[in-house]
């Protein structure tokens, strides 16, 4: 599978070098990886917190975007506050959508994009309609068509 070969290479690279604030938690198969990210500057919304990301790869990766969500764990109890992150961890980012995804992106670049998405944010809020969405959503992130109404955040 091309996904396996590509992920092997990515993993080698990640084990060799990681950008600051990003760490590899678990990658013992080529389906699900866990990554931790930290916001580096002094943004009061995220200061001192670490957030965990779950990557799920299909066999069509990297042609198809991975499914990326924030999850909680004993060491990372929070889902970051952001107007594009629902409280159940689902992320609304064009990069992870069909239209915005390019096979040239990789785990590292996704982590960095999310890191910078958090860094640049000043709003201590959830997306509009968060409560309803979290209550009713049973779909997987990739089957939801988000409407990217705000390119600035």
């Amino acid at each position: 599978m091309s996904a396996t070969r590509r992920l092997q290479k990515e993993l080698l690279k990640l084990q060799e070098h990681l950008p600051p604030g990003i760490s590899l938690v678990q990658a013992d198969n080529f389906e699900t990886w866990l990554m931790d990210i930290k916001v580096l500057d002094d943004n009061p919304l995220y200061r001192g917190d670490t957030y965990r990301l779950k990557f799920h790869f299909s066999s069509s990766y990297p042609i198809e975007a991975p499914e990326v969500t924030f999850i909680t764990s004993p060491t990372t109890p929070k889902i970051p506050m952001h107007p594009h992150v629902y409280s159940n961890g689902i992320i609304c980012l064009d990069l992870l959508d069909r239209q915005g995804w390019s096979p040239v992106h990789n785990v590292e670049s996704v982590c960095m994009s999310l890191q910078s998405m958090l860094t640049g944010n000043e709003k201590n809020e959830r997306p509009p309609g968060d409560a309803d969405f979290v209550k009713s959503n049973r779909r997987r992130p990739r089957d939801i068509s988000f409407y990217f109404h705000d390119e600035k955040v």
Partner: protein, 513 residues
């Protein structure tokens, strides 16, 4: 000869593409029609001289027709712009097939435009597969020597298997065709058809063409797909969105499906699209109440036995007590004998109790139910008639055997059945229409027409249920009734369409296009 033809076809469709001054697009006056953006060649259009006022002009196209017309347009523009066809195709799709605007903008700012669609100016040499030294594919991270690679003019190079995988995923899973971009990050270059030919397998090419054709029809205002399941035809009609308050453009697809070109719902003449939307929404909101009040069954007014209607006609005879009554008004049937049918009309109550708000709301619900019941009844009856239609064929062959009639001679049954279907469809919508009509003289005429059609349909429907051995004797009568039904339908539709066009109907709600 060839060049002559080219010139002609170019000329006539040039004329057609100027669509801004076609004001009404209404089919009555042919002078207008000529200016409507038809998009297809003028000589292909049929002008039926005897067209009724409720009918619109349209044409049905097969996928091959659409393909060839598309190709023709691309060729034409290609010569004007001096660009190869595959580039022209991308440009045309980018401009949603608005040829004039494309040529204008292209002449104004050629480079800007090519850049916008991800094509820059140096288009030299056909795309080809190459092998590069020291190459590593950014998608699969493969770096073995001799790996076949491909890149478009943007220079984003990937190995051929990855490129193929990417394209087939876009085409197969995501249904994209006209706007597939380079797999490179943030690259807006669109994969042109030559590159696609090089990389994509034959079976996918078919799918790709299909998708391209689909975007062509979706992009053009005068083309719409027939919404019937598995139908491959598209319909070309010049009626514009802004005309829909004045006209109900029902078109007939070659597959046999009749639908409204405006909203693609099943034929809803005489009610205009905006009214239909309102009505359907209302039925959705109120349907539970309505269902609750008038469930599928009714009780015999005499002996209270529960009765389910299982045939198309309103003349009910209770199995238990032999009481004959009308399913609509539950009145005694014999009373319908002389004054016949007065139960299509809602008797507006006098204004005396209008002050009582409760009575008012009850009345408005009652009024709604009056129309809804009749609407639903025709819908239901049409379904039942359809069941009968399926049995008709059997009846027809039985009739051929029992009475020695030929195949041609029993066709009247099929005709009758078709007339019933069509009239019921029309009647159904007359009740939605009437619900929103303000009361005036026009309404009286409308209700009279409605009553006449209703009567004619009921007569025919009743005849239709007769046992086979009686049908042969009824042939002449049935033929007459069929003709009469169709005639009443034409009268009703013509009257409503004329008034709609002249803006003479007053509605009790505001309709917006």
């Amino acid at each position: 000869m060839d060049s002559d033809d080219e010139f002609h076809s170019g000329q006539s469709s040039d004329d057609f593409m100027i669509d801004d001054d076609s004001d009404t697009g209404l089919p009555e006056d042919d002078s207008d029609i000529d200016e409507v953006d038809i998009g297809f060649e003028s000589q292909e259009k049929i002008t039926k001289p005897g067209r009724k006022s409720y009918e619109v002009e349209f044409k049905v196209y097969s996928p091959q027709d659409i393909q060839s017309y598309q190709d023709k347009q691309i060729d034409e523009v290609s010569t004007i712009l001096g660009q190869p066809p595959e580039i022209t195709a991308i440009l045309l799709r980018h401009m949603r097939w608005n040829k004039e605007r494309l040529i204008e903008q292209y002449m104004d700012a050629q480079e800007q435009m090519l850049e916008n669609v991800g094509l820059d100016q140096d288009i030299a040499g056909p795309p080809r597969i190459e092998t590069k030294k020291n190459f590593m594919c950014d998608i699969c991270c493969d770096d073995q020597p001799g790996l076949e690679t491909f890149a478009m003019k943007c220079g984003h190079r990937f190995c051929v298997p990855c490129y193929k995988h990417y394209l087939s995923r876009k085409i197969k899973e995501e249904g994209e065709a006209a706007r597939i971009r380079c797999p490179g990050e943030d690259c807006n270059r669109i994969v042109d058809s030559k590159s696609l030919d090089l990389l994509v397998a034959t079976d996918l090419k078919e799918r790709y063409q299909e998708l391209l054709t689909r975007t062509y029809v979706d992009d053009k205002e005068n083309l719409k797909w027939c919404p019937a399941p598995n139908c491959v035809y598209a319909v070309d009609c010049g009626v514009k969105q802004r005309d829909l308050l004045k006209i109900v453009p029902t078109v007939h697809c070659d597959c046999g499906h009749n639908f409204c070109f405006g909203c693609t719902l099943t034929d809803h003449q005489p009610a205009p699209c905006a009214l239909v939307r309102k009505w359907l929404k209302k039925c959705e909101d109120d349907s539970e109440t309505a269902n609750w009040i008038s469930a599928n069954t009714k009780e015999c007014p005499k002996c209270r036995s529960t009765i389910e209607k299982n045939g198309g006609c309103n003349h009910m005879t209770c199995r238990k007590c032999r009481h004959e009554f009308c399913w609509m008004c539950m009145g005694v049937w014999s009373e319908h004998g002389t004054s016949w049918y007065s139960c299509n009309r809602y008797e507006e109550k006098s204004g005396s109790d209008a002050r009582d708000a409760q009575a008012k709301s009850r009345q408005s619900l009652e009024r709604y139910l009056h129309y809804y019941n009749r609407y639903a009844n025709h819908e239901q009856s049409a379904k039942l008639d359809k069941d009968i239609y399926i049995k008709t064929e059997k009846k027809m062959s039985q009739l051929q055997n029992s009475s020695g009639m030929s195949w041609i001679e029993v066709q009247f049954l099929e005709e009758a059945s078709r007339a019933l279907q069509q009239c019921r469809q029309t009647l159904k919508w007359t009740y939605a229409f009437a619900f929103y009509l303000a009361r005036n003289n026009q309404t009286e005429i409308f209700e009279d027409n409605q009553k006449d059609l209703e009567m004619a349909v009921e007569n025919l429907s009743e005849m239709f249920e007769k046992p086979v051995d009686q049908l042969a004797k009824l042939k002449v009568d049935m033929l007459d009734k069929t003709t009469y039904c169709n005639k009443r339908r034409v009268i009703l539709l013509s009257d409503t369409a004329d008034n709609l066009k002249a803006g003479k109907w007053e509605f009790n709600v505001e309709l917006t296009g």
